[in-house]
């Protein structure tokens, strides 16, 4: 089924397009692996002035994601955790092909996402949705809640009648916890609180009944009491609807609360990945150890040792040699400057990339 698009111009435009929509609809999950990401690279070229572009010998890139490999199981919540600039958001967006990878593969149900043709991509995006951080900017203030949630249905032309559309919208809004849904249908975003708006975003993402939702810092702009409701909602939807979540967050303690597995990212690389409780209770990579040690704890009597790293995350244009964490690592040795550490298996699914781990 590997034929190009009809006209040559189109084929050129979608050069990568070799996977067809039919392939996607017939693809199935094998061994519970929904996504298999292998050596994913996403580089962004740096805009240079005309003169520099003429003189410069090599083009420079921001290496947002630099050879990342991991799997996402069907029906799990995988948390991508790291500081700003570590590439967690880019990884999430690339999974949905909102960014094009510059190298490596993303296999969705065994099919390479980077080779999806335009039509396949449309079908794919019915199955893969995203929730953004700020519910104040990510929904249209001029549309009613009904229109916002119905838009994905209209764009993808999935409803045969107005009635079916209405039913599906009401179901999605109800499931997102705005009950009774009929009371919210014809309101506008400004009439809702931040938490309610985020529920509208979630309803918009779930109305197509997707397999996977990338939640990019969904609670970062919400108050504590509302935040926990949204987290609960994600867990509920995972359990009831079987939605797979990729939960992108800078807050390891929130990842710990709801996720099944955690992947800790640093400067475009996953440094540690494993079952949530295992990673938090038994962190192996020095970066993970430091991140866990600085999480504030609501208990003044428990004075814990903080491992505070010096400086800030380096620029992802000039990534340090060897282990990219070595300039800030409290446990670094000479060899760390040269050896790019491979993943070391700790137990089961728990891997960490550090040469100092005893196998």
């Amino acid at each position: 089924m590997a034929t190009a698009e009809s006209t040559p111009a189109k084929a050129d435009l979608y050069e990568k397009g070799t996977v067809h929509a039919d392939d996607l609809s017939s693809a199935t999950v094998k061994d519970g692996v929904l996504f298999d990401v292998k050596d994913l690279e996403v580089y962004f070229p740096i805009q240079q002035g005309f003169f520099k572009a003429m003189v410069a010998t090599e083009k420079k890139f921001v290496k947002a994601v630099d050879r990342v490999s991991f799997q996402i199981m069907q029906g799990e919540i995988l948390a991508l955790v790291g500081e700003s600039g570590c590439g967690k958001t880019t990884t999430g967006r690339t999974l949905l092909r909102l960014e094009d990878p510059t190298g490596g593969h993303i296999l969705y149900k065994g099919l390479p996402v980077e080779k999806f043709a335009a039509k396949t991509l449309r079908a794919y995006r019915k199955k893969a949705q995203i929730i953004f951080q700020d519910p104040y900017n990510s929904i249209n203030p001029k549309q009613t809640i009904f229109d916002i949630v119905a838009e994905p249905l209209e764009v993808n032309n999935v409803c045969s009648s107005e009635r079916e559309k209405e039913e599906r919208v009401i179901k999605a809004i109800n499931e997102a916890g705005l009950r009774p849904a009929t009371e919210y249908l014809y309101r506008y975003p400004h009439e809702l609180s931040g938490g309610q708006r985020q529920r509208v975003c979630i309803a918009g993402a779930t109305v197509l009944e997707p397999d996977v939702i990338v939640a990019d810092e969904p609670v970062a702009s919400l108050d504590v009491s509302i935040r926990n409701d949204i987290l609960k909602l994600m867990v509920e939807e995972k359990e009831k609807l079987g939605v797979t979540y990729i939960f992108i967050t800078h807050d390891l303690s929130l990842a710990w609360v709801i996720s099944d597995r955690i992947a800790v990212m640093y400067l475009g690389r996953i440094v540690e990945i494993g079952e949530t409780e295992e990673v938090v209770a038994n962190p192996q990579h020095p970066y993970t150890k430091a991140l866990i040690s600085v999480i504030p704890v609501p208990d003044p009597l428990a004075k814990r040792e903080h491992v505070i790293l010096k400086g800030e995350t380096p620029n992802p244009v000039d990534i340090p040699s060897g282990c990219r964490f070595h300039p800030r690592c409290p446990e670094a040795i000479e060899a760390c400057k040269e050896i790019d550490p491979p993943d070391v298996r700790i137990t089961g699914d728990h891997y960490a990339a550090c040469i100092r781990i005893d196998r």
Binding site: E83, S84, S193, D223, V224, S225, I226, R227, N228, D229, L231, K232, V235, H250, D251, L252, S253, L254, W256, V257, I258, T276, E277, V280, A290, L291, I292, V294, I295, P296, V297, P298, D299, P300, L301, A302, R304, H306, I308, L309, E312
Partner: protein, 358 residues
């Protein structure tokens, strides 16, 4: 002395002599309203707390609970529609609530300074960061810009930014460095009291830890008193000696941080603490507080938290609870608090069955 001159201008009740005081700051019955078309928003009502020299105090609560307004009232930095209706702010024996604008200008930054939340918005984007920090020094100490810059370089050393960055514009600094520059600015005139309004909220965890460590070190070195305003109770637990929990413009619980976190008594405090995950304990879903805070234009007659409270009884709806001292220095505003001793609450205990029986 400038303060004496300011005193002469201010219509002080007790001229010449300072009011007897224990701590560096005593806030007594502070009440602040904002005028809106629909009526007065009662943002802060009858708030009292005090601070000893060298102590750190955390003001915490959900957004809209009045924590920032309370702090801005101390400095009288309220927006135009805001006013202090009643109450006293006794700072070092002077009542700031009764001071004139001119009188306040002698105190702001010289004796009390503030670190704002968004360092990018709080700094002037078209002026070198160092020169901005020099401004209060020139103003309050009457130094020339050159002499003030010498002090700015020392401050950069103190907060851990390279002296080479003095002439950088704010956009050239990273988020963490901008926050450090804000701290340097707050310390420019050797104040006695520094207020941090969500100083680490927009920062990454690791940078947050660096900034909190810096504040802690400076507080010890310079013997500063510090008020931390934060919505994040865990940050307050880690950095403060004393805590004040606010809800709907009122203080609902105050005491040492150990009192608040280890024998929390007000239902709101307990629910708020449970909303924060504790990574060192058993993994469980964090709970949320149902409902919304009340409208502060017409606050409810009874307890403000009553509609959201699991432990309410009939009189909660009609009777406005008074502050009760459940233990020395540990105050709670709840009708249940009278008949209850906080030492009955063992850490981790729900204590709810006891309360229901009241």
């Amino acid at each position: 002395m400038s303060a004496a001159k300011a005193k002469a201008i201010a219509p002080a009740k007790k001229p010449a002599e300072r009011i007897a005081h224990k701590g560096i700051l005593e806030v007594r019955g502070l009440t602040t309203y904002f005028k809106l078309g629909v009526g007065d928003v009662k943002a802060v009502q009858n708030v009292s707390f005090d601070l000893e020299p060298g102590e750190s105090l955390g003001l915490a609560g959900e957004s809209g609970c009045g924590k920032t307004t309370a702090a801005l009232s101390i400095l009288k930095l309220l927006p135009e529609n805001g006013r202090i209706v009643s109450g006293d702010v006794l700072f070092d024996g002077r009542n700031l609530a009764k001071r004139t604008e001119f009188g306040m200008s002698k105190i702001r930054w010289k004796e009390i300074s503030i670190i704002f939340q968004g360092a990018m918005n709080a700094l002037n984007p078209v002026k070198e960061t160092g020169k901005q920090i020099a401004e209060p020094i020139q103003l309050h100490e009457g130094l020339s810009e050159g002499k003030a810059m010498v002090r700015v370089r020392e401050l950069y050393d103190l907060v851990g930014i390279s002296q080479k960055r003095v002439m950088d514009f704010p956009h050239q600094l990273s988020g963490g460095m901008r926050q450090r520059a804000m701290i340097a600015m707050a310390l420019a005139c050797n104040p006695k009291l520094v207020i941090g309004d969500e100083p680490t909220t927009a920062l990454d965890v690791m940078v947050q830890a660096q900034i909190l460590e810096l504040i802690e070190r400076l507080r010890k070195e310079l013997d500063l008193s510090f008020i931390l305003i934060s919505h994040d109770l865990s940050v307050m637990a880690e950095t403060c000696d004393k805590g004040v929990i606010m809800y709907a413009g009122e203080v609902v619980e105050s005491g040492t941080t150990a009192d608040i976190f280890n024998s929390a008594t007000h239902p709101y405090t307990r629910q708020l603490i449970k909303a924060f995950p504790n990574i060192h304990e058993k993994r469980e879903m964090v709970s949320s507080i149902r409902g919304d805070p009340p409208n502060l234009v017409s606050p409810p007659a009874g307890c403000g938290f009553c509609p959201r409270c699991d432990e309410k009884v009939a009189r909660c709806e009609t009777e406005h609870p008074e502050m009760v001292e459940v233990q020395a220095g540990h105050f709670v505003r709840c009708v249940h608090a009278k008949s209850q001793r906080s030492d009955a609450l063992v850490r981790g205990d729900e204590a709810a069955p006891d309360l229901k029986g009241v």
